[in-house]
């Protein structure tokens, strides 16, 4: 079958029925297709970004052998946008969550370290408590049984009998 196709091309060439384009011209032609379409739509004020997206989707599907109507292209575009938005949101959420947890895990040991290292130093530098503060602390302290100024009763000691 391939041989016949080649023979046919030779016949077309021999009888001057073909007028071939160079590879460069073919590439230029394929490349100019969208540009010319856009120019025509702009010329008649029919061009809009939304319409162009729909046409681009239809052309993209056409290039892989699927011909879509504008309505089908719009549906495909809508689905792609929804999936893209959902994917983007999910990725943002996962990323934010990862960063939050990562930062939290890193911060906790640092806080512990700061406390253990700096606490004594801070205590040393604390100013001496003022008398008024001591008094107020004494008022707030729970009252011990017995009179004021007396030593608290010692606990009873049981001596084992001989």
């Amino acid at each position: 079958m391939t041989e016949n196709a080649e023979l046919y091309s030779m016949v077309m060439g021999k009888y001057r029925m073909s007028d071939t384009l160079t590879a460069e011209e073919q590439a230029f032609m394929l490349e100019s297709r969208k540009r010319v379409l856009r120019a025509i739509l702009k010329k008649y004020r029919k061009y809009s970004t939304a319409l162009w997206f729909v046409i681009a989707v239809a052309i993209a599907f056409r290039n892989i052998g699927i011909k879509l109507s504008f309505i089908q292209a719009k549906v495909a575009l809508g689905v792609a946008l929804i999936v893209g938005a959902a994917g983007g949101s999910a990725a943002s959420y996962a990323g934010a969550k990862y960063i939050y947890e990562h930062v939290r895990q890193r911060d906790v040991p640092e806080v512990r370290e700061i406390i253990s290292l700096e606490s004594p130093a801070c205590l040393k530098e604390l100013p001496a408590p003022r008398p008024a503060a001591i008094e107020s602390a004494g008022e707030r302290a729970p009252k011990q049984p017995g009179t004021a100024g007396q030593e608290p009763p010692r606990s009873r000691v049981t001596v084992p009998s001989m």
Binding site: S18, T20, L30, V36, F70
Partner: protein, 184 residues
């Protein structure tokens, strides 16, 4: 209201369905028309301008045209002539380019050419098949480029082209050509 404003008004009222139809025809036939324009114009930019003009007229008349390929080829000829006249160039060469029969007389292969052309016409091609045939057989497109132009995969384009050639060979066989080698 002059004719230009009437045309613009007509196009402004073109529905999305008309635009969809136009886009479909444009995608189907742009390679064919641009290929022909490149061969007839002095350079690629001119070819692009001519092509743009042809399809602009098509957009104006999208609902009035039925045989798109014939209409586009005829309009291409008119637009090219008009373009050359506007530039004060000799239009005789352009007319010769469009007239295939002239080449037949020059080469002395007129009868065979007509027979092959008839076989191509009788091969019961769909418009897409005909475009594919023109691109590969007449314009020498690679399967890959032709596939991009008509919206097929490379393998599909090759398979379909080979099927078309088989049908043409069958038609030629009925005209007494048993093997393509006889024509070489």
């Amino acid at each position: 209201m002059n004719s230009d404003s009437l045309i613009n008004d007509k196009i402004n009222r073109a529905s999305e369905r008309d635009l969809e139809k136009f886009t479909g025809v444009y995608m189907d036939y742009y390679p064919l028309i641009m290929g022909a324009a490149i061969k007839r114009a002095a350079n690629r930019d001119e070819a692009e301008d001519i092509c743009q003009e042809v399809f602009s007229i098509l957009l104006e008349k999208i609902n009035e045209v039925h045989d798109h390929k014939s209409w586009l080829m005829g309009t291409l000829k008119l637009v090219t002539l008009r373009h050359y006249q506007a530039l004060n160039r000799d239009t005789a060469d352009i007319e010769a380019h469009f007239d295939d029969a002239n080449l037949g007389y020059v080469n002395g292969f007129r009868d065979t050419r007509i027979m092959i052309a008839e076989a191509m016409d009788a091969a019961e091609c769909t418009p897409d098949d005909r475009t594919l045939l023109d691109l590969v057989a007449v314009r020498g497109f690679t399967y890959e480029n032709a596939a991009k132009a008509v919206g097929l995969s490379r393998r599909q384009a090759r398979y379909r082209y080979e099927r078309i050639v088989e049908r043409i060979i069958e038609k030629l066989r009925r005209k007494g050509v048993n093997d393509l080698r006889e024509l070489l």
